[in-house]
Symmetry: D4
Subunit: 156 residues, 8 copies
């Protein structure tokens, strides 16, 4: 059965594209948040009307985005959460906690330097990766039993 994977977190590098590209040929369906930063920030007021107060501007947008992100997490078999180099990225950690509470398989993707700060998130994960290519290897292994440099032994 198609493996459903939600790609949460950082939106400023090409990690999603590298995973999607690397997983070509595997029976995986990817979902992700809206990754257009401006659209994601302004969607609430753009559709439902302007707010003079930044708090409500943001709240309206965040609530709309949550329709998509929660559905993506709830329907996923695996939730991959990427922490990048910049920003607070509290929404990524929030998604990780949300996924963990639902019993989803969590894969965390982050550079070595965040290791200590992410220890609680990592400890809730099935795997902690440093590169998108490792995530692709995980998806391939989970579906086919194939490891890098070896032939897969168990076709799905």
């Amino acid at each position: 059965m198609t493996l459903k994977v939600y790609l949460s977190g950082e939106i400023h590098t090409d990690w999603r594209e590298r995973i999607v590209e690397g997983a070509k040929g595997l029976d995986v369906a990817f979902e992700s948040p809206v990754t257009d930063h401006a659209a994601s920030d302004d969607c609430g007021v753009s559709i439902l009307g302007e707010e003079p107060d930044k708090f409500w501007h943001d709240s309206k947008g965040a609530k709309l985005n949550a329709i998509r992100t929660r559905r993506g997490i709830e329907q996923a078999d695996i939730v991959v959460v990427r922490f990048g180099d910049k920003y607070k990225q509290w929404n990524a950690a929030f998604d990780a906690g949300y996924a963990a509470a639902l019993g989803k398989s969590l894969v965390v993707l982050h550079p070595q330097e965040h290791q200590h700060a992410l220890k609680e998130v990592d400890a809730a994960a099935q795997a902690v990766a440093e590169t998108p290519e490792q995530v692709v290897d995980i998806l391939r292994y989970v579906l086919t039993g194939a490891l890098p440099g070896r032939a897969g032994a168990a076709a799905e």
Copy 2:
């Protein structure tokens, strides 16, 4: 994956048609209650036998209708609840509460004048809209990341 949307509430204006029409081309599947008022009122006794007492006449019908409405809400990703100008519309508010308790994404659609009376319902919602076209914009954004007057950045 197809977005499942349940359209609950008012049955006397064309708001459902405007949403369904506006969402053409989007990967959305709509469900709704039986919107033929007379059929909805009389379905119980029509199928299962007359009742002299109005209470049981109504109870038989409401229980049959609940088979459809609960299934519609339980299978939905998003529940849109419309409050119109007339009638008590307690069934609409009941559906909203039912959807909220199940953790569904709730979108409320009502004219400005009902704002105060609907504050508890609105507070449970991911979005509060005034027009069916805003609901269409929400569905489009959730699925594609496209905002009104902007090109979508994240195809589903």
Copy 3:
């Protein structure tokens, strides 16, 4: 979406056939228990080996049948439970309780004479019918909004 209906209970009359036949053309998928009485009674020992003690003979069979019946109920939108004229039919009432606890829409089908004895089961149901044709009418109404002798107003 296809309406999933499980037909539980009595296996000695043609009520299932009448419902399946009557629902032709509707988007309904039916499931039911194994209705071959002898196979149902003997399946356990037939596959897993004879038992000298009648209790274990029956237990082995009932446990195998439960794989099918519980799956049928758990996957159903509507569980129809038929009580006929003969036998204790405790398995039918058990299925009704099982379905009720899972929050399934329950439709009970029984002759008038069992009304008092079935009052707890009927009270947990969305509808109590006396004929298979009424069950067909319910399925049609739930899916299409059409009532007997009227044109349907709300296509699914």
Copy 4:
């Protein structure tokens, strides 16, 4: 074990007091929303800061009140929902839907004149009463088996 009862809905008559008073001596613990209308309306801005926009004024308050009301419903064995003569009372119907979705035993209390408009809510209830005294009788019967004018036969 103590019967937990949540009293939702109308806040302008003494129905809660009549139930609490009538249930004296029974092992019942009552919870209810904040029934001070002004406090309930203004709690959000009073604690968290003023809002120039009425929508957000109301939203802040409704969200705070929801902490109490949802906890009350979620912990209850029985949810009593009262519909009075005035106002839209959509929050009462919302609570009823919320309780129904959680599988709570629902008791609806309303004057005869609302019967048709409340048919969906009534159809989800275990009992529909017209007076607070009937609700007391229900609580007494559920706990002790005693009926009005008869001695109870089954002490809890």
Copy 5:
């Protein structure tokens, strides 16, 4: 921790008393339905008003009784269901199915003669007993590890 036991089913013999009496000194809390047959039949109309139609007379009562029975089952660790010599006892089988679907430990108590007719219910049970004294032995063993004629080895 106190073992919570719900005693469902037959109300015309003294099996409940024998279990409660036999379990004296054990940390068990028993619940049961209202066992006054007349009160149980008439509770609905007695509190909520007469019904000329027997079906609704019974429905009103069964719905009130369900408040107590479902709470009893939902809060129990063990649900004991007794089938006696007389009547259809479909409510007992309904309770057994309800308990099984909730994952409760089910103990069935019935005379040998009902063995075949109850095979589906028995197959869902953790134990099938013929006498109330056996049920007492089960409760004692579950709590203390003591068996009939042996000293208990594991105090709770």
Copy 6:
């Protein structure tokens, strides 16, 4: 609807092949763990980097494998767990417990000699088989009602 079956446990004999082969023509979808012993042991370090400590070597691999095994169990209608002649096979028993807690239909497959040691696992199962062919017979019966040596009476 397609019957989903997860084949857990022993990976050193051809029992899976015999079941899959025997079930040809039946509407069954099989899932299983990665059965390449070396890949299964080394997947973690192979993808995510070497570990000098055997404990973490194994932990990394077991966590990756759990992504596949838990998904397989959670999506299954029936979980078949095979205990063979060798090794501790604690992962098989762990899977059985995992499946039981989720309410899955459990079928245990083991040689007679393990009977006493597996009594708790067997007692949680719907069926205990000794040969893969018996498992095939179970799947056929559950889907079609056909027994070995008899024509099926209830097509799915």
Copy 7:
């Protein structure tokens, strides 16, 4: 009933003490993580043995701490999450997501400057506060209906 409150997040200021102190006299039971930074970091290796690799040192500790934090969140009625001025605080956001997925009432406490970065977390909350005293006011209102500067109208 005692209100159960879990205090998650920042451990370097006295916000917990101010809330606990302010809530004196209210029927609230507080839980929190281990707030001794050194103990929290080293608990895993201190009890279960040293790890040369920092990743596993941290993992062992984070997994132990999760026993306490998840229990605290799962048993809470209200989860308060505090974001302070320093550090990444991803564990705080993880806890907020975990609480949101379980349907807990979430109260977020943070300085104004984090508003935009916390918009997704805030949008999932029932209240967003800036001071511990506001949290105390919320707890008092939820329990008693009393607002700052007004007498409470609804004792619990």
Copy 8:
């Protein structure tokens, strides 16, 4: 709040006593299976009647014991599973899987030699200990924040 701990697994050494003794003074409530081997094996037939077939002898007993063990696991905050030197101990691994599926905090206790064979069980655990004293340290830390050789910083 009292920490509830279930002690599953090996019954031939004094590990339970050492944990219970070591935890004196902590707010912990322990539960465990019946640890009298003979009583545990024979409880079914001792109470419910002899069985000539060993399989049913064992099945009757295992089903009775499951009433106690499942309740113990379901009510626990922490499930400790001990694997000793002897026997297959599949019931211990079954309990571990059962606990994991319910989201319980799992602590595994086993000698070093079983490390590889228990890797799937260990990978599902929050902690892997080798001595009962380490388990006591974990319980103390979870409740009080105190570590061995340090003063506790966070009283519960």
